[in-house]
């Protein structure tokens, strides 16, 4: 199903999340999209393609803006990394419990590791968002 922009009525590809003409955020299931014949698949090459917004050159947008575009549940790549790192952290804590000489500095080390995790997760999110963005074919 294609997305018709509520601001300028441009027909955009199904996976687009911003209008190619006015840059407004697109919503799903607009009336104009519903009126399209089932065969009119956006973005499909050739044939009866609804291609008003396809074929545009790409332009860069700030990655920070993209983070808000995707729900957390979509970031399936991120969570395994976080879980593995947490497991490693817990293991380390167990080791530290044995190694008493680390015990005194445990909070400082924990803070450092958590900070590292947060930074790493953030980078992974940014990377994934940019990959998804490029794959979406949105100009």
């Amino acid at each position: 199903m294609n997305k018709s922009c509520a601001v300028c009525e441009t027909l955009n590809p199904r996976r687009a999340f911003r209008c190619a003409v006015c840059d407004e955020r697109l919503e799903d299931g607009t009336p104009a999209s519903a009126a399209l014949p089932a065969t009119a698949e956006a973005g499909a090459p050739g044939g009866s393609v609804l291609s008003e917004a396809s074929g545009r050159k790409t332009e860069s947008r700030p990655l920070g803006e993209l983070i808000g575009e995707y729900p957390w549940y979509g970031r399936i790549v991120i969570w395994p990394i976080v879980v593995v790192l947490l497991a490693v952290l817990l293991s380390l804590m167990a080791v530290w419990g044995v190694l008493g000489w680390l015990w005194r500095a445990r909070w400082v080390i924990l803070l450092l590791v958590f900070s590292f995790l947060v930074v790493l997760s953030g980078l992974a999110v940014l990377w994934e968002s940019s990959v998804i963005y490029e794959r979406s074919g949105v100009p």
Binding site: N2, S4, C5, A6, V7, C8, E9, T10, L11, A20, V21, C22, D23, E24, T30, P31, A32, S33, A35, L36, P37, A40, G46, G47, S48, V49, L50, S51, E52, G55, K57
Partner: protein, 359 residues
Amino acid sequence: MSRSVGGYRITTDFTTAGGGQCRWAFAVRDGDEYFLKEFLAPTYPIPESPGSATTKERKLRKCEKFEEHHQSVTSALAPLSKTGGNLVTTRDFFREGAKYYKVTEKVDVTSLSPRMISREPVERRILVLLTVAHSLEILHRAGLVHGDLKPENILIKETAKGYYAAKLIDFDNAFFSGRPVPPEDMVGDPNYYSPEIFGYFNGGVTGERLTTASDVFALGLVAALFLTGRGAAFESVADAGRYPGELRGAGADCSTGLRRTARADALIQRMLSADPDERPTALQVFDGLKELRTEAKRTGGWPRETESEGPSTGRRLRGKLLEAAAPEPDAPKHAASGASGEGGRLRGSLLRGRDSSSA
């Protein structure tokens, strides 16, 4: 009123309002509303029609050419857009009896004149132009020239969010870039002809020079009109005619009414270049407009920069410049235009002039 044509049930009387070589009506098929246009010419020589065998043969040849041209353009347009988009392309083209018919989707338009658009906030004015430029870019990407771009063929529709979007209609005069129909068959509005189209009529320019750049020239005139409400003004040149394309071709200077906004003025000036090679492409125009809109949104419009020149400047210009803007349509047109009377007369005189000069 309950007449049917080609499977379409006519719901209104046919009217010639806004049409030259056609009349139009609204129709319904399978519950959907359509705009149906009936061409008054050419007429197909059916067995019952009057005329000698020779006349009928001549009409048949003309109809075949007409049909072939429209079928090829319709086929090229078909994949470009679907219902609800901003390109209102042909849905059906057929003949019934002696008459040809063309069908497009019905668009519910807003009665908004170019002057009223020019009173909208800057970013909204630019958005209207953006939708036109985007539609034109799609058309040009397919190698098609609209051939009759003017405000009457740009329907303004209020969108769900209260903005205005432009629907590009009337592809009757469309042709493939560099392959126009013969000069005597060309229709359109001389107010929006590019310099090379006038050259084509005069015989000084070959058909290969009539490319998508001609549409960009017309879009430049439309852009100036939508942004300022008054349109571009051209310096008068002796014996050069009175249309923008003629004047620009003769080297006339032009005022867009946007001189205080250097970027907007520069963009439209380039679009109105006499040399088609110097004009930007529709894509470049689109990108330029998009940048201007982003800036207008950021600054909340730029009234001091982009408002059209004030009355005093206008008075100064009146003595020097010739107002060359197209006549403002009071209501958006949803009928195909054929050759306007003025256009027909102009073409006739141009072609006569060419013939006499070559004789």
